[in-house]
């Protein structure tokens, strides 16, 4: 079933890709085959592969139970949130929070998880900012 769904998604993706390719605004002068041909070939390959999924699906994979899915969902949300607040809060604070959360959800007790978060954050800051000199996000406090 999962493979069949993948097949349907793949077919719609192929269609979407081909339609978007057809809508590419070509410039006044172009090469022999233009900027659309290769995307068409790609969408054909995606469509063909998707048809294979539809007609000869692999055995069903083991999808996790709902609570595990929710767990992953929350982690994804935290990751997005992290990307969002990083430039606002600065590197050290946001990273401590995100790393602490992940560590907690992976089975560390709450208090040690805070330590893991802060430790990770400071450790990375030392290596990347102070040793390698990369510019990490600067928050209101400059770190």
């Amino acid at each position: 079933m999962s493979d069949r769904i993948l097949g349907v998604i793949g077919l719609s993706l192929a269609l979407f890709f081909a339609v978007s390719a057809a809508l590419i605004q070509e410039s006044f002068m172009t090469d022999a085959i233009g900027p659309k041909a290769f995307p068409y070939i790609i969408s054909a390959v995606v469509a063909l592969a998707s048809l294979v999924f539809l007609f000869s699906p692999d055995p069903e994979p083991a999808w996790p139970a709902f609570n595990r899915l929710a767990e992953i969902g929350f982690a994804v949300a935290v990751s997005f949130l992290y990307a969002w607040v990083l430039p606002e809060l600065g590197f050290l604070i946001s990273t401590s929070l995100a790393a602490g959360y992940l560590s907690w959800r992976l089975g560390t007790a709450p208090l040690p998880a805070v330590a893991v978060g802060v430790g990770t954050s400071v450790g990375i800051y030392v290596v990347f900012r102070l040793i390698l000199g990369l510019s990490l996000a600067e928050g209101p406090f400059g770190f």
Partner: protein
């Protein structure tokens, strides 16, 4: 003999205490950057350019520092591939396929030491290739016109099919997905934006680093979250056994033919501009799998599956210097950065470089030898140290990995948008893993997509739209033939083919 005396002069230039210290520093930093997901050889070199200039180094010392970083990163990428199933950089992706299973079987130390030796062999002989064959090799690069490049890229995808997954359709799907992602951005040929949907962030396309870190590193974190508590094998992973640190001689010996073949393959892939180290390791792995994987142990922790891509990508790293030095055409992202360094030092690579700046060239080559020996000497004793990473429980290790991935991307691009795209890739990676869609072809597609398309379009423009131009030379015909055989035969003949190729191979060795 003239070459050897030039090389001797090169060593005279390179062997000063300052240069040796720089090489050591470069090797260490390079290894670390290679091992950290998100920082690869090209970023590593780019990050250290300001350091080279602020230290006020001259041309040769700067090059020694930066090439040591380059080779170091090529070594370092394998460490996280083997220990964490997360490639440290894109050429190390294939090392995951057998390296991580070896680590799971408690053979992490062996895998690390073996891959260290394999890296050394690849890089060492490739550097000799660079010394002895550079002028002739330029001619090899000149055999490849746009049609041949297109055939070569097709071959890479076609042969990858049977390697990364048992289901050819899923490999093809993944490859097409990667190619499709590569199409996003401003078209290189005509300058029109494609698939950007008016989003300015997408104009310069999706960085393959964002894709690779998302697909591999973040999805790994999600896998751990999924299996916490429920799956005993994952839960005990923190107490993974380390086993012996050094491989047995018989294991090394069994890998020697593999290393020999993949040195040649990787080196040639490196010499072709636009192909580079990633293609070197992909082709090395898939060809070796076709040739020697009689029992189907590749992908389940076969040492040869670790040796092949590591030899291949390090050989390619050496090979990629050939077109960069002799033609001024960078063969990979890293050599593009190195080329920029040379130009900044007022050295113009090109056909006259060997005559005009012999001290720089030979000093550089000597530095490659020195860096390579140093890396072997550094890496083998440190295997024990690296394997300790496995003793860190995942509940601490995984958050660290996730955060390093974020930092690697953010530190380079400074863009929250890239981070969000990366999280998107993480989710995609998790779903695709569930569905047994291999991730490697996606990265290959993102890496090679634009070059592949450009060469197709150039070939057809030259031929005035005649598609037969794609098969118009013996070289492209050969490449197409291999590509078709490589794609079709596994579907119909499966096991029988491998056995046949294996026996042919033995005949060849017998000759």
């Amino acid at each position: 003999m003239e070459i050897l005396s030039s090389l001797g002069d090169g060593f005279a230039v390179a062997l000063t205490w300052q240069n040796l210290a720089l090489a050591l520093l470069g090797c260490l930093l390079g290894t670390i950057m290679g091992a950290l997901p998100g920082l690869g050889p090209s970023n590593g070199v780019a990050i250290l350019i300001p350091l080279a200039f602020t230290l006020g180094l001259g041309a040769t010392p700067s090059l020694i520092l930066l090439t040591s970083v380059y080779y170091g990163a090529m070594y370092g990428g394998r460490i996280s591939s083997i220990l964490l199933n997360i490639p440290g950089d894109e050429p190390a992706m294939m090392t995951c396929l057998d390296g991580y299973p070896m680590a799971q079987q408690g053979r992490a130390g062996e895998a690390l030491a073996l891959s260290g030796v394999a890296s050394f062999v690849g890089a060492f002989f490739a550097t000799w290739g660079l010394v002895l064959l550079a002028p002739q090799l330029v001619k090899v690069a000149l055999l490849f016109g746009p049609a041949e490049y297109f055939a070569l890229f097709t071959l890479a995808f076609a042969t990858l099919g049977g390697v990364a997954s048992s289901n050819q359709a899923k490999s093809a799907f993944a490859a097409a997905l990667g190619l499709g992602l590569a199409m996003i951005g401003v078209d290189q040929q005509t300058g029109v934006p494609r698939f950007t949907f008016g989003e300015v962030h997408l104009y310069d396309g999706i960085d393959f680093l964002v894709a690779i870190v998302g697909l591999f590193a973040l999805s790994e974190v999600f896998v751990f979250l999924e299996h916490r508590e429920t799956d005993p094998s994952k839960a005990t992973e923190g107490k993974m056994t380390i086993g012996r640190i050094y491989p047995t001689w018989s294991m090394l010996k069994s890998c020697i033919p593999t290393m020999g073949r993949t040195t040649v393959l990787g080196f040639i892939a490196g010499v072709l501009p636009g192909a580079g180290a990633s293609l070197g390791s992909f082709i090395s792995y898939s060809v070796e799998k076709r040739l020697v994987d009689k029992e189907g142990t590749f992908g389940k922790g076969d040492p040869r599956g670790v040796a092949a891509p590591e030899t291949g990508n390090n050989a390619a790293a050496g090979g990629a210097l050939v077109p960069m030095l002799a033609l001024g055409v960078p063969g990979s992202g890293t050599t593009a950065v190195l080329l920029a360094v040379l130009l900044a030092l007022n050295i113009t690579p090109g056909p006259l470089l060997f005559q005009n700046n012999p001290d720089v060239v030979w000093g550089l080559i000597a530095a490659l030898f020195i860096g390579n020996v140093m890396l072997l000497a550094l890496n083998i004793p440190m295997v024990g140290l690296f394997t300790r990473v496995l003793l860190v429980p995942p509940r601490i290790l995984m958050p660290v990995v996730a955060m390093i991935s974020f930092v690697g991307i953010y530190g380079i691009s400074g863009s929250s948008f890239d981070l969000m795209v990366m999280v998107g890739f993480g989710v995609l990676g998790w779903v695709l893993r569930k569905l047994d869609v291999p991730l490697v072809p996606i990265i290959l597609g993102v890496l090679l997509g634009n070059e592949m398309e450009s060469n197709l379009r150039r070939a057809l423009s030259i031929s005035n739209g005649d598609w037969f131009a794609l098969v118009d030379s013996w070289l492209s015909l050969t490449l197409w033939a291999i590509a078709i055989v490589g794609f079709v035969l596994p579907i119909f003949l499966g096991h029988a083919v491998r056995r046949k190729m294996k026996s042919e191979q033995e005949e060849m060795i017998g000759d």
